[in-house]
């Protein structure tokens, strides 16, 4: 068979075709595999950058949360690097680093959106091998009880201010976590005074992120009966300890009452009616309360012979006529429920509910956008 005859030509054609087909097939496969490799690499860097950006935001967020009002970080933060060798975040550029994060803290200026206007926003932008990702965290629309506009308590010391207050937004009650011995408490020495004093905090929702131990400083506390009224449709408590130090006359001098309690109230125009939840009183108003902490108690004290105060038993608060602890529970509370003097129908357990409802579950001060 010569090359010039038909069969020879066909053989060359077939061979060439085979070369072309194989080359095309191999080339396409190679290109596809390279594209897949690139995609994997890019995805990996993208996820690395995302978590690095979140790390930067978390670091600045932690700094923001630690600072008191007026001293919070603002503007451009120091660049943060992740050092591969030491496995730490640092501010100086290491020789071998995974990537870096630039974080900016700003106040949102959006007069068109009253819910967002004035909120603090943390924007963290990370770069890993040229791949950039941004993580944004924003404070949710709420006030802190210690913000100057409310001043319900001292952030530093936890002392409750004895004047009524009202807020239109949800309020977070949180004391400075750097200071020790600073639960929310009554600490307002007025010797000789022995009366009923009521202080009311009102908001649509009130979230206690710090314990409220009303008799924390009972030795120097206010004489008389102090009712801290928490007026909200939804209330989330941390640890709650009400205090009971009844008056006594062990010798000649009469020592006064120091009885500090928490009263739960439903704001006007809010709450649900008893018939909706099968309560005994169908017309009574109810709100919802969540006790997140494992302690909801009454601390009993007594006056000593020379005026000293001694602690008596810590009484765990239970739903009246049942053995159900309030701690870690979720309840409908009747308007004007006094925690230190619970009536039988004042708290109705919410069926199948966790101790904290979903809207606030797991949220810190910031939400990711």
């Amino acid at each position: 068979m010569g090359l010039r005859d038909e069969q020879g030509m066909m053989a060359i054609g077939v061979a060439l075709m085979l070369i072309v087909v194989l080359a095309l097939f191999g080339g396409t496969l190679w290109q596809y595999s390279m594209a897949e490799l690139k995609r994997v690499e890019r995805t990996e860097q993208d996820i690395q950058a995302l978590f690095l950006a979140r790390a930067g935001a978390e670091i600045v967020m932690a700094a923001w949360l630690e600072e008191s009002v007026g001293e919070k970080p603002a503007g451009v933060m120091e660049r943060i690097y992740y050092n591969r060798d030491s496995g730490h975040f640092q501010l100086t550029e290491p020789s071998d680093y995974l990537g870096y994060v630039d974080v900016v803290v700003s106040i949102i200026d959006d007069p068109q959106d009253s819910l967002r206007d004035g909120l603090t926003q943390i924007v963290a932008t990370s770069v890993v091998d040229g791949v950039s990702r941004t993580a944004t965290a924003t404070t949710y629309p709420h006030l802190f009880g210690h913000d100057p506009s409310l001043a319900w308590y001292s952030e530093r010391y936890g002392t409750i201010q004895m004047s009524n207050a009202f807020a239109e937004e949800p309020v977070i009650m949180r004391t400075d976590n750097r200071a020790s011995n600073n639960p929310l408490h009554v600490d307002n020495t007025l010797p000789g005074e022995s009366e009923v004093v009521t202080v009311q905090f009102e908001a649509p929702a009130i979230v206690f992120e710090s314990p409220m131990i009303l008799g924390h400083n009972i030795g120097s506390g206010r004489n008389g009966r102090v009712n801290v009224v928490v007026c909200a449709e939804t209330i989330f408590f941390d640890e709650v300890i009400v205090s009971n130090l009844p008056s006594s006359k062990p010798f000649i001098i009469t020592y006064p009452d120091r009885i500090y309690s928490v009263i739960l109230k439903v704001p006007d125009g809010m709450g649900i009616l008893g018939f909706e939840i099968g309560a005994e009183d169908p017309t009574a108003k109810y709100g919802t309360v969540y006790f997140d902490h494992g302690t909801v108690s009454k601390q009993n004290y007594s006056w000593g012979f020379l005026g000293g105060i001694s602690k008596k038993v810590l009484e765990v608060l239970k739903v009246k006529n049942t053995s159900k602890n309030l701690a870690k529970g979720a309840f409908y509370f009747k308007d004007d429920t006094d925690l230190s003097n619970l009536a039988a129908d004042s708290l109705i357990p919410i069926p199948d509910s966790e101790s904290r409802s979903d809207p606030f579950k797991g949220t810190g001060t910031f939400v990711w956008e």
């Binding site: 038909e6 061979a15 595999s33 670091i59 700094a63 730490h88 501010l91």
Partner: protein, 114 residues
């Protein structure tokens, strides 16, 4: 023109052997390229799955400090040294865990996530 199928002449044994040899040579020449490409595609698929698993593990670790501390998937978690990210205020540094899952790294501040 006379069609191929009409031709009565066939291939000699030598022609067939040469043709098979050429086809084999061509296939052998392209085989490594094809095999390595297929292997790369398979590896990419496995790695992608691995990345999503690691990402999910990382999310879980960041959601819970206690999980981050106990999870066998977390290769390292260590206390952060003081880190002063801004010069104002009384901030003396940030404490928390550096959470590392596979090649992913993030940070969980102390007291958060539980």
């Amino acid at each position: 023109m006379k069609g191929v199928t009409d031709s009565e002449s066939g291939f000699t044994l030598l022609e067939v052997v040469v043709a098979i040899a050429i086809i084999t040579m061509l296939t052998v020449a392209f085989a490594p390229l094809i095999v390595s490409s297929v292997q790369r595609i398979q590896w990419a698929g496995t790695r992608m799955q691995e990345l999503y698993t690691l990402r999910s593990e990382m999310e879980k670790s960041l959601a819970s400090e206690s999980y981050a501390k106990t999870s066998p998937e977390v290769s390292t978690h260590k206390q952060m040294p003081n880190l002063r990210v801004w010069s104002g205020g009384s901030n003396t540094g940030i404490e928390g865990l550096v959470v590392r899952v596979g090649d992913f790294v993030s940070f969980l501040p102390k007291g958060r996530g539980d």
